[in-house]
Amino acid sequence: MIESLRIANFRCFDDLQLSGLKLVNVLTGPNASGKTALLEAVLLGLRGTPGAITGQINPGRSQLLPGASPALVFVGGQPVLNPAAFEQTWNYLFGNKNEDPIEISYDDYERKSYLLKIYYTLDVPQQALVQMPATAALSDVKPIVFDRIRSGESAGKIIVLPNFSIVGSQEILGPVAFYFGPTLNYSELDNVSWYSRLRADNKEKVVEDALREQYPFIERIEVLSPAGIQSIWAILRFGKKRPLSLVSAGISKIVSILLGAASVTKGVVMVDEFENGIFYERYASFWQALIGVCRKNANQLFVASHSAECLRELANIINDNDKDFCLLRTARLDNKCEVESITGASMRDALMSGREIRG
């Protein structure tokens, strides 16, 4: 579980330091104040791989997907690099125009430390350059390096060459992390994989019980593949079966998050815009189910929300467990983002007294 976190030169964060992070960390604040950027930084720091950016962070922001723009273009029949395609993949991550290295470091409660540095450099091993096209001019566009350090020792560098070739092991740096963005449609492949893993270990009940308690018309869920593509299906009362995503996008979202959280231990689960797609009367039960699963599996939770109704439901859930909660309130000051950490007790009592805590 992450105890403290430092984020430097990443998006809107100059040099953010947070400590005393808890089992449940609730993020709130205005638009463009850094909530999603903070979640992205946590994800990136935990994964420590370019795939976190190309596979989740950039697509989540509707930014360039790898291959959307060719890494190489042909001029006069000769291949030359297309710097824009490469640089646009990474440039948005840097906090300033100088492209000072991004640094994301964190310490966990078991005294392990992790550091990820991301920077452009021409200083890459010659063997890496073998993968570059013969005509590529490195002076035009520099490779980007993911330099990873675990408890003071190198955990390997990952180099992404300007033609998007990757050199180095893409082993994740820290604990397993799942990021659920503001959209409602998460990967069905992940859902199937998580459910299957839980089912194999006879642990799917925790998700099904939570689901049935709130939506009694759903008896259970199952992985089916009537058309040859596996997906999660809802087995409704009286025997009807429907793909879960067709029953309700909101319920499907809840199931995805619960499946992800239940299928990992000592990991980190991040949910952006928690309230999206969920009926207000279900906020409390969703909070309870998710926090319950995370507590049972020792997973740390980072949840962002804009909804006062949704946040208010937390007051009774925090109750006497205030030491397990903290509020991270983001704000944009002088065009930079800052985060203020507020204790679980303050969050609970402010919510109980009807205060506006969102900023």
């Binding site: 950490s341 507020i342 009592d349 402010a350 007294s353 205060r355 900023g359």
Partner: protein, 233 residues
């Protein structure tokens, strides 16, 4: 759930015992042109009503959770002296000591705990506790208000004392109850339109009954003027 609709917008926050106290203090500040304060009643969060000289911990925690707390430079806690100002002060100190850590934007970790009534402690934020009528006098807000109201109505005040004798209030153990009874009878006697008028409505609907400009309140006024000069000039 309580209902603190007002957000913190000023550098000085006053926490007092109940909504009625908050209305009085807002009137007092406004009448004297003292700006730059938010006044919040202490609240029993479980019952959504005034918390008296308890629930300071929860109320302070709640204030610390407000986004506007970032700019607060001073917290003033106003409580009744009751029979012993030092005893009342000890209860507040106990409440402060049980609050959670301050938000991370502060340079210190915990709220300061004043050593004595009226003494300001700390600076990020500063914290001060006062009792009413004052640190050297037993009593409560209602006893102050009665003193202010009865000064302009000596004949009515005599009737009130006769009433107190008649109902054998001398045997009442709680001095604050006597003060509240006196004020209630006086206000009822002076306000035929609605003898059951809420205390908090007096200054809007019958402003002359408890003269907010009375010298009875001058120590409070001077104290708040001093806070304004120091923390919200």
């Amino acid at each position: 759930m309580g209902n603190s609709e007002e957000k913190i917008a000023h550098k000085i926050v006053i926490l007092c015992e109940a909504p009625d106290d908050a209305v009085f203090l807002r009137q007092l500040l406004s009448h004297n042109g003292i700006t730059g304060f938010n006044v919040f009643p202490n609240t029993d969060l479980t019952k959504s009503k005034g918390g008296g000289n308890t629930f300071w911990t929860e109320s302070l925690n709640s204030v610390m959770g407000d986004p506007g707390f970032r700019n607060v430079r001073c917290i003033a806690i106003v409580t009744d002296s009751d029979t012993d100002p030092q005893e009342a002060f000890a209860k507040v100190r106990d409440g402060i000591s049980k609050t959670s850590d301050l938000p991370s934007s502060r340079t210190t970790r915990r709220l300061p705990i004043p050593d004595a009534l009226v003494n300001i402690k700390g600076d990020d934020p500063a914290l001060v506790v006062i009792t009413v009528p004052w640190a050297d006098s037993p009593g409560c807000l209602e006893s102050m208000c009665y003193e202010a109201a009865s000064a302009g109505n000596p004949a009515m005040a005599k009737c009130v004392e006769d009433f107190m004798v008649c109902v054998d209030a001398g045997t009442w153990a709680n001095a604050n109850s006597k003060a509240k009874a006196r004020l209630r009878v006086l206000v009822s006697g002076l306000y035929e339109k609605n003898p059951l008028i809420w205390f908090r409505d007096i200054w809007d609907k019958a402003p002359g009954i408890i003269p907010i400009g009375s010298g009875t309140f001058s120590k409070l006024v001077d104290f708040f003027k001093g806070l304004k000069t120091g923390y919200s000039p």
